[in-house]
Symmetry: C2
């Protein structure tokens, strides 16, 4: 009750600054506001309002979802304005002040589009599955480890379930999970809500407890030009086609160094320093978008390491993949393919290798693979799709 009255008071106060009579004035601060701040805020029509103090600026815009919305200057020197309705879930955005693209000074920051930028959370009807709740809490652990392959210290996050702290003899399966293009190892730890999704599933006994490792697929051999993948891979799907497309480039070459980091450094490090079940039956890899392509490249290259595969908005495993990959049909235990419904609706002819991912998944299932296809309702190529994919995938894993 207390919480509701605080939110109601906040909505009243936000109403006072409305700059647009057509916008429904029931804005509530997004969960991504900085402590004590009120913007970005979201109304019941899923519009996002921002407020930026820029007394001497000529122009201030909200840059969200591929559109720029002009803000209006008020008497106090602050610029206020709203986006159109957004899909539910998490969205990156920028503020543009006289041509300068900057983070919103009152929002929390997240890594996407190859920089740290603002994020806003549009409440989802099913948001309970990734909410922070008073259930036994796992931990996200920040770790540096030495890579012989890259000859450098590398940085990753590891989720451990709540019971890991006191089950001193029990060993756990491990999921390695990858971010998308222009993102990094912070993606699943922050906007991905991995800890909340896992804690809530485990508390409800809907998933078996397992470890989740979040690393960045950017990796360069010593002496090579450093540089993280910027958005879609070179030579990838043509402009205008979904980022999940996979046709026309050599995935195994693109992820060759990270493949070696995983096989030679990361997996051995995790198996030495955590109580893991260190075999392929108890090891999974999954990823979103470019991370799904990375997952496909590395898991098909290493059936001896991975028996469980998740691809979120990043292609499929085909009958041909299953047939030509040595050891795949003997060792694979699970293939999960997920997309947002809007990605499938917007699919243009020639998407990926020219086939339908649902049909491909049904075909590979008919050929004997334990394959699952999932569609996230009313979401596009964005984080709510991938949170839901993890939520579904985790329930199938290591059973």
């Amino acid at each position: 009750m207390k919480k509701i009255s605080v939110l109601a008071a906040a909505a009243l106060s936000l109403a006072a600054v409305s700059a647009n009579a057509q916008v429904k004035d029931d804005f509530i601060p997004s969960e991504t506001v900085q402590h004590g701040k009120q913007f970005p805020a979201v109304n019941s029509e899923k519009c996002v309002r921002v407020k930026v103090n820029a007394p001497d600026a000529k122009s201030v815009q909200l840059d969200l979802g591929g559109k720029k919305y002009d803000l209006v200057k008020g008497e106090d020197g602050s610029w206020v304005g709203e986006s159109g309705p957004q899909d539910e879930g998490f969205h990156y955005y920028n503020i543009v002040i006289d041509g300068a693209v900057v983070p919103d000074p009152t929002a929390r920051y997240f890594y996407g589009s190859s920089h740290w930028t603002s994020g806003v959370e549009v409440p989802a009807y099913d948001g309970d599955f990734f909410a922070v709740k008073n259930v036994p809490q796992g931990q996200i652990r920040e770790i540096y480890y030495w890579s012989e392959v890259t000859q450098a210290m590398r940085h990753c996050f590891v989720y451990t379930p709540a019971e890991y702290e006191y089950s001193y003899t029990k060993r756990y399966p491990v999921l390695y999970i990858q971010h998308g293009g222009g993102e990094n190892e912070y993606g699943w730890a922050q906007q991905g809500k991995t800890a909340q999704i896992m804690d809530n599933l485990i508390a409800e006994r809907m998933a078996v407890p397992f470890i989740v490792v979040m690393e960045c697929s950017d990796a360069s051999l010593p002496g090579a030009q450093a540089g993280r993948p910027q958005g879609r891979p070179q030579g990838g799907a043509p402009e205008g086609r979904p980022q999940g497309g996979m046709g026309g480039f050599d995935m195994s070459a693109m992820f060759a160094t990270y493949d070696r980091v995983m096989a030679e450094d990361l997996i051995p490090y995790i198996d030495r320093n955590f109580r893991t079940v260190a075999d392929n039956a108890h090891r999974a890899m999954a990823g979103l978008s470019m991370g799904g392509m990375c997952t496909k490249a590395i898991t098909l290259n290493h059936p001896e390491l991975f028996s469980n595969i998740g691809i979120f908005s990043g292609g499929t495993i085909t009958v041909q993949d299953a047939d030509i990959t040595p050891g795949f049909r003997q060792t694979n235990k699970l293939v999960f393919v997920g997309f947002g419904s809007r990605e499938l609706e917007n699919r243009v002819p020639g998407f990926g290798d020219g086939t339908d991912p649902k049909e491909e998944t049904e075909d590979v299932k008919a050929s004997g693979v334990n394959a699952h296809f999932y569609v996230s309702p009313d979401t596009a190529h964005e984080w709510l799709t991938w949170r839901r994919c993890l939520y579904q995938f985790a329930q199938l894993l290591f059973r």
Copy 2:
């Protein structure tokens, strides 16, 4: 060698954008740049250069160390400029674009001055003690826990030493360490470099392994107005005096709710979920600035919980404190007081309760307390002072 040549190439490339002939053109990207970015950069004279793309702006400034430096617009629409020489260590800063105070779009972000803002690291002559090195690596664990006192989930970070992962029966002492005014639980985990300082000390056998808990002292009872302390406490030291001053306000009232959170929720949670030695001899509390005052208030209120005290730029423990606090002289094992040399140089008459912190510490030592006084060379009220304080304090703890 490889790293040196990369840095040299970067310095050459940065030289090309110089806007000020008087500034020495050997800038190297700060460790706080975003991946693949080149600014903020620092030269051998410890000046900080930034570059901000703002093609339509009328004015862009660098706001660093209490001064605003005008940037100069180049032909490419980017604004470039430098600060004067800075002290070594970590500094918060902002960019001001036509009156709008925003984070630097190419820097990493840190929480200080009650918002997420940019940070720059000016290399320190002794920076090796907080560098990421290939030594056994501890972990920073992100944790949510339920507070009965505030009736809410709370957020903290916990450092565990490398050996914690495999020493299944060993139990460890715990240090609770507090941020300063306008900061939060991220301070010691990020700009404080707690994991690196501890890992390096433990690897050199200069400190015994212990756990470090980083929480935020902002805490409100259910129904109370929420709000983190904003800068110096109300009723605190007069303007123009060091923030470390302690005269004139009731510390125990200011930190009363956090005192209860620690005693009733946080310490029991840590003792239940980590392998701690759960007694006052093996428990310490320390803090910087306002966090030092918080430490003093809570440790003097709870000699049954804490036998070890660290106060960094936040006052002292006096003979009177030791005399009037029931149980203090029986249980206290260590008092550590540290300041930056520039804080002491700039000390004005009437600082705190009107006495000299070094004299106070010597007096309390002469009265029988195991007290230590430390001065960080050539630093002010900033993070390098506090990193050095932790480095010194940790070597004395739990011996």
